[in-house]
């Protein structure tokens, strides 16, 4: 068998395993979502087809669509069918909007906030971690490591509240809440983007400070381990530039520990989003889950949990595939 054929087989075997895991987990998430409200006292219709403004007709329609008066197994099948069609029910709070629609209008805000902060935090974290490992016990290493420790024990929502107080209330540099100034009609796309940017500075800095820790500590420990390896010593002895040695030689073989790490980190990122969006009143999916819980808006709780869990699942799946593609050791595990 040729080399490429071998790689293709090992990759496709790995892919099959990951796809099976993806499907099983998807159905487990659906099942958690289905059974949790049904473990509560009362009938499911009390939780899932309710709302202060719901008309009797709409209530009956929801009961019929989700089969809330049918036996459990029939409800389960209907629930899966509905979810696969994007029907997550009606929100109490945002009546008459559907849960699906409410979540999808919030999603871009969260992706914007998290996408930018996550990228910046990872880059800063890895670079600082690599240099801290290189200059072990220097002032830079000690101060960045203590900072990472401090951030690890600090509640992110409190960090956000303090930022809001100092830079929003006291200094007045940034707006206090939301993503856009309410009631403003923008003259151009650029003006709107500027407003969005002004609103996003504080929440972004908060999330970045919160997210730098894990990549920093990971890069620091991986690079300091790698620096004792003979091939790094050789590279250094050859006189290769330090930057190339750290980033091309020392950091390259680390994708194996990274794939487990990504799963945990993604959960961490989502947690950061929930708290930061709540403090800064950022209209994203994270704040939506807070609103849903506050109002005991059960269809919305179910819907946000489902969408967040499935998004993280898919993100993990993609990351795993990329790692497997880049690093043969991953797919041979």
């Amino acid at each position: 068998m040729s080399q490429t054929a071998k790689i293709a087989t090992s990759f496709s075997r790995y892919l099959t395993k990951r796809i099976i895991f993806l499907i099983v987990t998807f159905f487990i998430i659906i099942s958690i979502n289905f059974f949790l409200p049904r473990l509560m006292p009362g009938t499911p219709a009390d939780y899932l087809a309710r709302g202060p403004m719901l008309t009797t007709q709409e209530r009956l329609k929801l009961i019929r669509e989700f089969g809330l008066d049918k036996p459990l197994w029939e409800q389960y099948l209907l629930y899966i069918k509905n979810i696969l069609h994007g029907n997550l029910g009606l929100s109490y709070k945002y009546y008459p909007e559907t849960v699906w629609h409410v979540i999808m209008t919030r999603m871009p805000y969260t992706l914007f906030l998290l996408g930018i902060s996550y990228t910046i935090a990872t880059i800063i974290g890895i670079v600082l971690g690599a240099y801290a490992a290189w200059r072990r016990n220097s002032a830079l290493d000690l101060s960045t490591t203590s900072f990472a420790f401090l951030m690890r024990s600090m509640p992110i929502f409190w960090l956000g509240m303090v930022m809001l107080y100092v830079f929003g209330v006291e200094l007045g540099w940034f707006p206090l809440s939301g993503a856009l100034t309410p009631g403003v009609i923008y003259t151009s796309k650029l003006a709107m983007l500027k407003d969005l940017f002004r609103h996003s500075v504080l929440p972004m800095i908060t999330i970045i400070l919160f997210l730098i820790g894990p990549p920093f500590l990971l890069a620091r420990s991986l690079v300091s381990d790698a620096l004792t390896e003979p091939y790094i010593q050789t590279a250094l002895a050859k006189g290769l530039p330090l930057r190339d040695v750290i980033f091309k030689h020392a950091l390259r073989p680390v994708s194996l520990p990274l794939s487990t790490y990504t799963a945990i980190l993604l959960g961490y990122v989502v947690g950061g989003a929930v708290f930061t969006e709540t403090v800064f009143d950022w209209p994203g999916v994270g704040k939506l889950i807070y609103e849903a819980v506050m109002r005991r808006d059960y269809p919305l709780i179910q819907g946000t949990f489902f969408i967040i869990a499935v998004s993280v699942l898919l993100a993990n799946f993609i990351v795993d595939l990329v790692y497997a593609f880049l690093d043969p050791r991953v797919r041979l595990q």
Binding site: F21, V24, T25, I28, I29, I32, L36, P37, L39, M40, R136, F149, L150, R152, S153, M154, P155, F157, W158, L159, M161, V162, L164, Y165, V169, L176, A263, I264, L266, G267, Y268, V270, G271, V274, F275, T278, V279, I289, Y290, V293, M294, R296, I301, T304, F305, I308, A309, V312, L313, N316
Partner: protein, 279 residues
């Protein structure tokens, strides 16, 4: 002997010593809370929204509760949920890790896939949803932390068991006729305890932060005073907009200091038990 050795270690490791001192002080505060608080934390003892003054060193909240007394009592909730939640995670983690590692085969496969699944569902969101359904109480928060916080510990315990299982001295013991319980008692447990103690202390940090976060989102136990709940009320009653920093800064600082205490102790214990970490 173990304790004496650790005390010697503390003398040289200033960070671990700091952590120990922080935890000791907090424990004393939590235990003696009824004797050192100026007021009953749940009684109305002053005008609402009072600034710090002689009667109320940290002012009062929107109802007229003494903030300092709430702060002192809050240590109880934090330490209770922190230690018991972490205990739950560690117990479930050890159990699943041991079973998976020992049984191998299909059972191992099932348990490890279960671990992967719990790990892939975002922890905080899952805890929020679970507590929202179970109802906000200290015990439900501890239960939810237990149900969702065990996977990484289970993985660690399993890989430890696996490495022992293939080690020569365990193989030798088995070939000499050692039974399962013998191997457990003399080969697995002695190595497991130094592995688990630091992890337990570090998990306390996560449990404390989880409790604070849930309380901040309005999912805290309404019958208990806690730091997260103080911040929740501060947030929804607009403490900062009113410039009442004394309502917001102290609870967050207490959470951070408590977390830091356990983090420093946990890292110290890691170095103590696994000299590999000593640098």
């Amino acid at each position: 002997m173990e304790i004496k050795g650790f005390l010697t270690f503390l003398r040289y490791n200033k960070l671990a010593l700091t952590g120990t001192v922080i935890i000791a002080i907090l424990s004393i505060i939590a235990i003696t809370a009824p004797y050192i608080t100026p007021y009953n934390p749940t009684a109305i003892t002053g005008p609402p929204y009072a600034s710090p003054n002689k009667q109320h060193l940290l002012g009062t909240d929107d109802i007229g509760h003494d903030i300092l007394s709430q702060l002192i009592y809050g240590s109880r909730t934090s330490l209770l949920v922190g230690t018991l939640g972490a205990l739950g995670c560690v117990s479930v983690g050890i159990l699943i890790g041991l079973v998976a590692g020992f049984a191998g085969g299909v059972i191992d496969e099932i348990l490890m896939r279960l671990t992967d699944i719990v790990l892939v569902i975002p922890y905080i969101v899952f805890v929020i949803v679970l507590v929202a359904y179970l109802g906000p109480s200290v015990w439900n928060i501890i239960l939810s932390i237990t149900v969702l916080g065990w996977p990484s510990i289970a993985r660690m315990v399993r890989s430890y068991v696996m490495s022992l299982k293939t080690s020569l001295y365990v193989e030798a013991a088995i070939s000499l006729g050692a039974g399962r319980s013998y191997i457990m008692r003399y080969h697995i447990f002695p190595g497991l305890i130094p592995l688990i103690i630091p992890v337990y202390v570090l998990t306390i940090v996560d449990s404390i932060l989880t409790e604070a976060g849930l309380s901040f989102l309005g999912l805290g136990d309404p019958t208990k005073v806690s730091w997260g709940l103080l911040l929740y009320y501060a947030q929804i009653r607009g403490a900062f907009v009113r410039g009442m920093w004394w309502w917001v800064i102290p609870p967050g600082l207490m959470i951070t200091i408590t977390g830091l205490g356990f983090l420093l102790l946990g890292t110290g214990l890691e170095e103590y038990f696994n000299p590999r970490f000593r640098k």
